[in-house]
């Protein structure tokens, strides 16, 4: 049976889900001139969910992880930390999306409703405690994302991207499900704890390992790690930029959570077996991501390849045990903030009837709006990993974790390609600062969009100071798993 305590444990999810339905209904009956209410409702949901999530941690008693719904769901620090950052990133993305959709008369209630549904999926992905729940969370996120990518359905490239995303995503889900079924068959249980126990005690782990391979392929697909990265550039480029901002930021946190739950918690005892596979994924992602990014002229595509390389760096952390997980968590959190900021800037720059797609479109940004150019500089430099920005610190910690685990060669390759990667980021900065503007059209940004841009960009500096604290949070979250 389930009772109040189960429902209270899953309260953040329940709030977001109910509000997603409410936004859907309100969107149907609302008059077009009052549609700002939808954004307000969405923001309210995020704030409220954040408060509810935080409440248990701020109380007088120490927070204890608890399971609900017969172990299908778990509420722990790991999940809550990721969720809090998801709310934040989603809030920024929603605000950016508002402006973008308005300018293209795509503003519909369904966008925000689907975004909230996607958020529910992400939340379940980071706090699912058995295979079925995790899988359903993943599918919920994926299904909402497909629809969001195809949102501008009269746009040929967006539709094409959605179809590619859907087909490859379905394939990845199939792989993952096949792997999960084998894991279930071998362990005889859906619960992650029982699977870990079975993995630790079973003398013949061959079936589990076979399942593990498929699970890893599925997770790599969803993360967008090479060699399963083919969908990333096309989808990032084809999707409306608002959607790209959404799928490039918060879902990465969720995918990280899913990977930790499955590989770290469930199949943790098989670490020796998956470590080398993850190392290969990491190296390939870093190499392919950085090499292909160099020749891109489309900035969304460039960001897509940059994502692949960032995912590679994040995966480096996975080879380094508990410390590595904490470093990877730190990495992915900072990356989600960067990605949201980067795409947010692109959205703000693409005003009415203008679509910033190519690096050329950023020409002379400094002349047009010095402050925005500076914010872009902060974010891009942080992506490249220049000190003293947080992108540098996070790379440092991940590399240190890999080094500590004895992966010297891996670390060297990663450092070399990080330096190579700096080139294409520098090119963007050069275009912004040293080329002449082709247009002197003023850049219009709403107050809330500017607020979030400032927060996300300044965070690249500020988080450096907060690094010890955030790393501490990550370590204790991982330790409490």
């Amino acid at each position: 049976m389930f009772g109040w305590s189960d429902l209270v444990t899953a309260l953040p999810e329940i709030i977001v889900l109910s509000m997603a339905c409410l936004v859907l209904l309100v969107g149907l009956v609302l008059k077009p001139e009052k549609d700002g209410l939808l954004v307000s409702l969405t923001m309210l949901t995020l704030v409220f969910a954040a408060l509810v999530t935080l409440r248990d941690h701020l109380g007088a008693e120490a927070f204890v992880a608890r399971e609900a719904f017969n172990g299908a769901f778990v509420r722990d620090t790991f999940g809550d930390v990721l969720k809090l950052f998801m709310y934040m990133v989603m809030a920024a993305v929603v605000v950016f999306a508002k402006q973008y959709l308005r300018n293209r008369s795509l503003f519909k209630g369904e966008y925000f409703s689907l975004a909230l549904f996607a958020l529910v999926g992400m939340m379940v992905m980071v706090s699912g405690n058995n295979l079925v729940t995790l899988y359903l969370g993943l599918e919920l996120l994926a299904l909402s994302s497909y629809a969001l990518v195809a949102f501008d359905r009269n746009h040929l490239k967006a539709t094409e991207a959605a179809v590619k995303y859907f087909v490859l995503g379905a394939l990845a889900s199939g792989m993952l499900l096949y792997g999960l079924s084998m894991v279930y068959g071998a362990a005889g249980s859906l619960q992650l704890q029982n699977i870990a126990q079975a993995a630790a005690t079973q003398p013949d782990a061959r079936l589990l390992i076979l399942g593990l391979v498929f699970v890893l392929v599925g997770v790599a697909f969803k993360l967008g790690a090479a060699p399963f990265h083919m969908w990333v550039p096309d989808v990032y480029t084809g999707a409306p930029t608002a959607t790209t901002a959404l799928i490039a930021s918060a879902p990465k946190l969720a995918a990280f959570g899913l990977a930790v739950r499955l590989l770290g918690e469930g199949l943790g005892p098989l670490q020796i077996h998956w470590q080398s596979m993850v190392a290969i994924l990491a190296v390939l992602s870093i190499v392919i991501g950085n090499l292909f990014a160099i020749q891109q002229t489309n900035i969304k595509r460039l960001f897509a390849y940059s994502t692949i390389s960032h995912i590679g760096f994040m995966l480096l952390g996975f080879v380094g045990g508990a410390d590595g997980f904490a470093a990877a968590m730190f990495y992915i959190i900072t990356y989600a903030l960067m990605a949201a900021g980067g795409f947010g800037l692109l959205i703000v720059l693409s005003g009415k009837g203008v679509e910033v797609e190519n690096i050329e479109d950023l020409k002379g940004l400094n002349q047009r709006n010095g402050w925005l150019a500076f914010l872009m500089l902060l974010i891009i430099a942080s992506m490249a990993g220049f000190p003293p920005l947080v992108g540098f610190v996070s790379k440092l910690w991940v590399l240190k974790a890999a080094l500590d685990a004895g992966y010297l060669g891996l670390t060297i390759i990663a450092v070399i390609f990080a330096v190579i990667g700096a080139f294409y980021y520098l090119r963007v900065i050069k275009v912004m600062y040293f080329d002449d503007a082709q247009t002197d059209e003023a850049i219009v940004a709403s107050v809330d969009a500017r607020f979030f841009l400032n927060v996300l960009a300044i965070a690249q500096l500020a988080l450096v100071l907060l690094t010890p604290m955030l790393l501490d949070v990550c370590s204790s979250a991982i330790a409490a798993l």
Binding site: M1, D6, L17, L114, V124, A150
Partner: protein
């Protein structure tokens, strides 16, 4: 005893049909036949479940997959009227497909050979009394132990509905459509006025 071997015979009969039809699904060239063979495969699978006393699941498989999903499938296949242009079955990917299939088969054999050599486990299927309700047991599990995944699956379907409607519903301004509610609401007095007027005297010259 005859009652012992009847289920065994039935099992092998249905399993054989299932395998044969599943194989035929991917090898026949006519897509309508493929869809119909898939229906047969679902049906045989349902029969196998029935043998395991999972009658609710078996019937639901027929209801959902055969009765609804495959009908839509056939609908689309027949509408598109796909004429297969492939010379070979499996659409020219035959070799790759066979290689993958063989690899999977080898994996499975390697994994299970040891267990099979040790002999199949004795039948562990609990036979329930006649008044045992499979439906009730399933419902209790779904709504207590698995309530969270169950509700999540429901949300997933809701999102699917929202997405499908979002992507297909288009309001074209030039599209003429009827609103039955308004049609029904029409009253005679809206369209026609009955006036009372005195009969006019017949004017002369009209009927000349």
């Amino acid at each position: 005893m005859i009652s012992d071997w009847i289920p065994v015979v039935l099992f092998y009969a249905f399993a054989g049909v299932l395998l044969a039809s599943a194989l035929a699904v991917i090898t026949v060239r006519n897509s309508v036949y493929a869809a119909l063979l898939l229906v047969l495969a679902f049906f045989s699978a349902a029969a196998l479940w029935m043998l395991l006393e999972a009658e609710f699941l078996a019937i639901t498989l027929v209801l959902v997959y055969v009765g609804a999903v495959m009908v839509l499938f056939l609908f689309v296949v027949m509408m598109l009227d796909v004429k297969s242009r492939e010379k070979h079955a499996l659409g020219g990917y035959g070799k790759v497909a066979i290689a993958v299939a063989v690899a999977m088969l080898l994996e499975m054999v390697m994994l299970f050979a040891g267990k099979l050599a040790a002999g199949l486990p004795e039948t562990s299927l609990t036979r329930h009394a006649a008044d045992y309700s499979n439906v009730r047991a399933l419902a209790e599990e779904l709504f207590t132990r698995y309530v969270f995944p169950f509700e999540l699956a429901a949300v997933l379907l809701l999102v699917a509905i929202v997405a499908a409607i979002l992507l297909t519903l288009r309001r074209r301004p030039d599209f003429k459509h009827l609103d039955p509610a308004r049609q029904i609401a029409v009253k005679a007095s809206d369209r026609m006025r009955v006036i009372k007027m005195p009969a006019e005297p017949q004017s002369s010259g009209d009927d000349k």
